[in-house]
Amino acid sequence: MMGRTIFIDPGRCIGCQACVSACRECDSHRGKSMIHLDYTDEGHSVASLPTVCMHCEDPVAPCAEVCPADAILVTADGVVQQADTTRCIGCANCVNACPFGVPKIDLGAKLQLKCNLCYDRTAYGLAPMCATVCPTGALFYGTVEELQAERPGVQVADTFVFGETEVRTGVAMVVPAEKVRWPVPGGLPVVEINGKDVRR
C-alpha cells in the first residue's frame, strides 16, 4: 500500500455529496466531479458509498493496461493519472476495463477523465479536495497509522476480488475487523469458484 492514500469508510458516509461538490471545485478538473456516490441498499436504508479512483497497483491499473494510446500514466508513488490530453483518443477502453467503474469519457472533447488523487494538491502536502472536506471522515487521506491513531482498532483492506481476479489497490477500504483477512468483494459476492475458496 502507498504511504499516504485515501481510505474509504462507507460506515461513516452520510451521502451528503460534499465530496462530489469539492471534486468539482478542485483545480485539476474544475467544474467536473470525478467521484460518484452509490446507494447500496436503496428503498431500505440511506446507506451510501463514495467511489474514487482506486489507483490499482497489482495488476498495474487495468485502465492503463488496455489503453491503446498509452495515455494513462502511473506515477512512481502509484497515482494512476488521468489520460494525457495529447495522447488520449477517447476510445473508452479504460471505461470498460476498470473494475470499479471510475473513468469517464467526455465524448465532445474525445477525452478520458478520472480522479488523479488531486496531484496538484498532494504535491504540496495537502489532502485531495474530497478527503479534505468530507464532513464525516468517510474519505480520509493519510497513512494507515494516522488513520488508526484517529480511529482506534480500525481495520482496512486493499485487495478486491472480481471472480478469479484479485486486484490490489492504492486506495483502501475500511472493513469490519473480522473481514480483514479476505479481499473485499468488488461488485459480485463471489466466494467460491469451481470449488475453490477465492477469499483464501
Binding site: C16, Q17, S21, G43, L73, I105, Y124
Partner: protein
C-alpha cells in the same frame, strides 16, 4: 497537462512532482493547514485567500474565499479552523457562487402598487418612497401599524440594528425575526431552566462523552460537519441514541434508534425519566445540590410509565427502558437536539423534558456531559441576543423589565416612555397583517413565503399590507411581493460577527467589494433612520462602529460580549460568550462551578405534561406529515436553489413514504392536509414510519411543504408546529413543475456527453433523490 515527453512503453512512467508542471490555476500553499491569517493577502499567484466562515448553518465552518486579481470571489478553499478542521458540506463548498451570481439585485426595485411591474430606481427615490410610506401609515394608523421582520442570517451587528431601528427610528413595538422559526423553543426552555439561552457545551465535548443522545436532529443533512464529532465519539466507544421518526444517516448506525411518532417527544422523555427514577439511576446528590422543582417533576414522571408512553409514541416499551439505562449509566452523557423536537406546539416542553433527564442523571456542566441545541441558521444563536426578538433588548435583556428598559434607554439616549413595549411574534404579525392591524412592513433577510407555515395565510397577510419593502440580494418569493426591494450585500461583502450553535462568536471578513449599486444592510438602515429623523442615533459608518456599541450594550448582562473585539476574534478563531472583559478567555462550557444563571444558581426543573399535536387525526387525515431539510439546500432555498451543483443534487422536493402504502417509487402522490394539497414524487423507503410522511420544505408553491403545514404555535416560544400535522396520501396524475432556477456562471454541469458505466442509477433512497431526478 504536463509538458514533459515520456517514454511510452513503461506505464509506470514517473511524472515529477514539480510545481511548474501542475495544471494552470494551481496554487502553492505555505502549509497543509492553510495560510496563517496574517498572511492571507499575499498568495504567490496573485490570488488572495480571505479567511471567513460559511454563511449558512449554525456550525459556522471556517473557510477561505478565493479572490482573484480583480478582487472578485471565485472559489473556496477549506480552512483549518477549530470548528470544522477543513471540512465543509456541499452548501459550504458552493456558497461562494452566490456572490457574483447573475441573479444578484444591483439596483433598488420599486413600484407603487402590486399590479405594476418593478422598475429600477435610484437609491434616493427608493428611500424617499419608503420613508414617505412609513410616515403615511404611521400618521394614519399609529406607530405600531408598521412592522419590521429581521433575519438570523444577518451578522449580529445588523440584528442589533434591526432591534434598535424598530424601536428608535420606527418607534414601533412590532419587530421580530425568522429565528422565531428556528430554535426559540430551546431558547425558552434553557432560559426557564438555566437562566441562560445557549448550549451548555462546546462541540468538542462530544468527543469526550460516553453516550450521545441526538433528538430530532438530522445531523448528517442539516449540520453535516457536526457528524465528524458524532463519529469521533463513536470511535472512542460512545454509544449513540437517536430519536427521530426517520432512519437518517446518523440513526442508521445508532445503538438505539427510537423511531417515535411525530409530536410525542415529551411523553417519551418523561417516560425515560420514569425508568431512570424507578431503577434508582438518578444522581440524588446533584439534584439536591443544584436543582429546584425535582419533587414535582418526579411526581409527574410517575404518570408516564413505559407502557403508557410506548402507546403514545408508537414504539416498544423496552426501547424506553434501554434508553434510560444507556443514558443514565454512562459515566458522561450528552443530549443534543434540534428542530425535530422544537418545531412543535409543545416545543418548550419537549426541550424541558430533555433538560430534566440530563439534570436527573447529573449529566450537566462537565467535559463530555451536558446539553446543546443545533441552530439552523448561521446566526440563529447570535441573531436574538441583541434585541431583534420582539420581547428582547440588547444583551438578552427583557423588554418587560423596568431596570433593563432603563439601562438600554440610557445607552440609546432616549426617554423610557419612548421605548415601545413588547410586540408579537413573526407568525402573529402575519395574522395581524391579515387583520390589517399591521399595514406596512419592512422585511430584512427573510423569505416567509416559503418558510412560514400555512402559505395561504401568509400570502393573504402580505397581500393585505399597504406597503412592503424587502432587503435582499436575490429576488426571493417574498421580495417579489414587495413595493420596494433594496439590493444589499452578501456575507462576503461586509464584515461582522455571528455566534454559532456553541455560542462561539466568530468573525466573517470582507472578501470583495459589493457590486456597484449594492449597499450594506447597515447603510440602508442608517439612511432610513436618518430620513425618519433619528439620524443622530444611527451614526454608524461601518460594522465595527455598530459592534462597539453592541459590546457596551451587552456589558454586564448574561449575554456579555464586552470582552470580545474584532482583533481578538481574528487572533483566536472565536470566543464563546459570556466574555465580560478583554482579558477574559470566554466561556465555552457552562455551569462548571455548578451554578446556573438564575439568582439562586440552581437549575429550575419544570413539570411537563404531554398533549397531542394541534392538528387532530381523523379518518380523512390519519397520517402525520413532518417537514425538514435536505443537505443540498438551506432554509427557504432563496440562496441555494440558484446554485447549479446544489440544484443538480436535489432539484425538487419529494414525499418520503413507507412501502406499506403501495405507492411506486417516483409516482406522483398528493399530500392532503386541512390547509390544502400539493403533489410530490413519492420516494418509497423503509427508512420512515408507516404512519408518517416527510416532505422537505425549501421550495415555493406549487411544491411547497408549507402550503400544507399548520400555523399553530407553541404558547411560550411562539414557534410554529412544522414537525407534525394530520394528512392523507392520494394518487395524483402529475407533478406541477417548479421552473428551474438560473444557475451561477462558472458552474459547469456534468458534461451531457459523458459515458460511464457508473452513471448514477435512478435513486430510491432518500439520499439518492438528487441524482434521481436528473433527466
Amino acid at each position: 497537462m504536463t509538458a514533459e515527453p515520456r517514454a511510452a512503453a513503461d506505464r509506470r512512467t514517473f511524472i515529477p512532482l514539480d510545481p511548474s508542471l501542475a495544471p494552470p490555476g494551481t496554487r502553492a500553499f505555505r502549509d497543509a493547514g492553510g495560510i496563517p491569517a496574517d498572511q492571507w493577502h499575499a498568495d504567490q499567484n496573485g490570488e488572495t485567500l480571505v479567511p471567513t466562515h460559511c454563511c449558512f448553518c449554525g456550525v459556522q465552518c471556517g473557510m477561505y474565499l478565493r479572490v482573484d486579481r480583480g478582487g472578485k470571489v471565485f472559489g473556496v478553499e477549506p480552512r483549518n479552523h477549530d470548528i470544522n478542521r477543513m471540512r465543509l458540506c456541499p452548501k459550504g463548498i458552493n456558497a461562494y457562487q452566490q456572490v457574483n451570481h447573475p441573479d444578484r439585485l444591483t439596483a433598488p426595485l420599486m413600484r407603487c402598487s402590486r399590479d405594476e411591474e418593478f422598475r429600477e430606481v435610484s437609491w434616493e427615490e427608493a428611500l424617499d418612497f419608503t420613508v414617505a410610506e412609513v410616515k403615511r401609515i404611521q400618521q394614519t394608523y399609529g406607530n405600531d401599524a408598521f412592522g419590521l421582520l429581521g433575519g438570523a442570517s444577518l451578522f449580529s451587528e445588523k440584528t442589533y440594528l434591526v432591534g434598535k431601528f424598530a424601536r428608535v427610528a420606527l418607534k414601533s413595538r412590532h419587530v421580530d425575526y425568522n429565528g422565531r422559526l428556528c430554535m426559540v423553543s430551546a431558547a425558552g426552555a434553557n432560559k426557564l431552566a438555566f437562566g441562560i439561552d445557549r448550549a451548555g457545551n462546546p462541540f468538542s465535548d462530544i468527543l469526550l462523552t460516553d453516550c450521545l443522545l441526538i433528538a430530532g436532529s438530522n445531523v448528517g443533512e442539516c449540520f453535516p460537519v457536526m457528524t465528524q464529532y458524532v463519529w469521533g465519539a463513536r470511535d472512542r466507544g460512545a454509544s449513540l441514541i437517536v430519536v427521530d421518526p426517520r432512519e437518517t444517516a446518523i440513526a442508521r448506525t445508532a445503538d438505539i434508534h427510537v423511531a417515535l411518532k411525530p409530536g410525542t417527544d415529551s411523553a417519551f422523555f418523561t417516560s425515560v425519566l420514569n425508568v431512570v427514577i424507578a431503577e434508582g439511576l438518578t444522581d440524588e446528590n446533584f439534584l439536591a445540590a443544584h436543582t429546584t422543582g425535582w419533587e414535582e417533576v418526579k411526581a409527574k414522571a410517575a404518570e408516564y410509565p413505559p407502557s403508557r408512553s410506548a402507546k403514545i409514541c408508537g414504539i416498544p416499551a423496552e426501547q424506553i427502558v434501554q434508553v434510560a439505562r444507556t443514558f443514565a449509566r454512562a459515566p458522561k452523557a450528552m443530549a443534543w437536539h434540534a428542530r425535530g423536537i422544537e418545531h412543535h406546539s409543545q416545543g418548550v416542553e419537549n426541550c424541558l423534558s430533555v433538560i430534566s433527564l440530563c439534570a436527573a442523571t447529573g449529566h450537566i456542566g462537565k467535559p463530555g456531559a451536558g446539553y446543546g441545541t443545533l441552530t439552523g441558521q448561521g446566526n440563529g444563536q447570535g441573531g436574538r441576543e441583541h434585541g431583534q426578538k420582539s420581547d428582547l433588548l440588547p444583551g438578552g435583556r427583557s423588554i418587560m423589565n423596568e431596570e433593563h428598559r432603563r439601562q438600554i434607554c440610557e445607552i440609546w439616549g432616549i426617554e423610557e416612555s419612548e421605548l415601545p413595549p413588547a410586540g408579537t411574534s413573526m407568525m402573529e404579525m402575519v395574522w395581524q397583517m391579515q387583520r390589517r392591524e399591521i399595514r406596512g412592513l419592512i422585511g430584512i433577510c427573510n423569505n416567509p413565503f416559503v418558510s412560514l407555515p400555512n402559505y395561504r395565510v401568509v400570502k393573504e397577510g402580505y397581500d393585505a399590507t399597504e406597503f412592503h419593502a424587502q432587503f435582499d440580494f436575490f429576488l426571493s418569493e417574498t421580495a417579489a411581493n414587495a413595493h420596494v426591494v433594496f439590493p444589499v450585500t452578501t456575507w462576503a461583502e461586509d464584515e461582522g460577527v455571528m455566534a454559532n450553535a456553541e455560542a462561539r462568536v466568530v468573525k466573517h471578513n470582507k472578501a470583495q467589494d459589493p457590486p456597484p449599486g449594492v449597499r450594506t444592510d447597515t447603510w440602508v438602515m442608517c439612511e432610513l433612520a436618518r430620513r425618519l429623523g433619528a439620524g443622530d442615533k444611527f451614526d454608524f459608518p461601518d460594522s465595527r462602529a455598530v459592534f462597539d456599541e453592541l459590546r457596551i450594550a451587552s456589558a454586564g448582562t448574561v449575554n456579555d460580549y464586552y470582552g470580545i473585539t474584532y482583533e481578538r476574534l481574528e487572533e483566536t478563531g472565536g470566543i464563546a460568550w459570556p466574555c465580560p472583559s478583554t482579558d477574559h478567555p470566554g466561556t465555552p462550557r457552562l455551569f462548571e462551578d455548578g451554578r446556573t444563571y438564575h439568582p439562586d444558581g440552581r437549575i429550575h426543573l419544570q413539570v411537563v405534561e404531554w398533549h397531542p399535536p394541534m392538528d387532530p387525526y381523523d379518518d380523512e387525515h390519519p397520517m402525520s406529515l413532518t417537514t425538514g431539510r435536505t443537505v443540498a439546500h438551506f432554509l427557504s432555498g432563496n440562496q441555494t436553489r440558484r446554485l447549479g451543483a446544489l440544484v443538480e443534487q436535489t432539484p425538487r422536493p419529494w414525499a418520503e413514504i413507507h412501502p406499506s402504502h403501495g405507492f411506486r417509487n417516483g409516482e406522483p402522490v398528493r399530500i392532503v392536509t386541512r390547509r390544502g394539497s400539493e403533489v410530490f414524487p413519492a420516494l418509497v423507503t423503509e427508512a420512515i414510519r408507516p404512519d408518517t410522511v416527510f416532505v422537505p420544505y425549501h421550495w415555493p408553491v406549487p411544491t411547497a411543504a408549507n402550503a400544507l403545514t399548520i400555523d399553530a404555535l407553541d404558547p411560550r416560544s411562539k414557534i410554529p408546529e412544522y414537525k407534525v400535522c394530520a394528512c392523507r396520501i392520494e394518487h395524483a396524475d402529475r407533478i406541477d413543475e417548479v421552473p428551474a432556477p438560473p444557475v451561477a456562471p462558472g458552474h459547469v454541469a456534468y458534461p451531457e456527453t459523458q459515458v460511464s458505466r457508473t452513471d448514477p442509477l435512478p435513486p430510491t433512497s432518500p439520499q439518492g433523490r438528487g441524482t434521481s431526478e436528473r433527466s
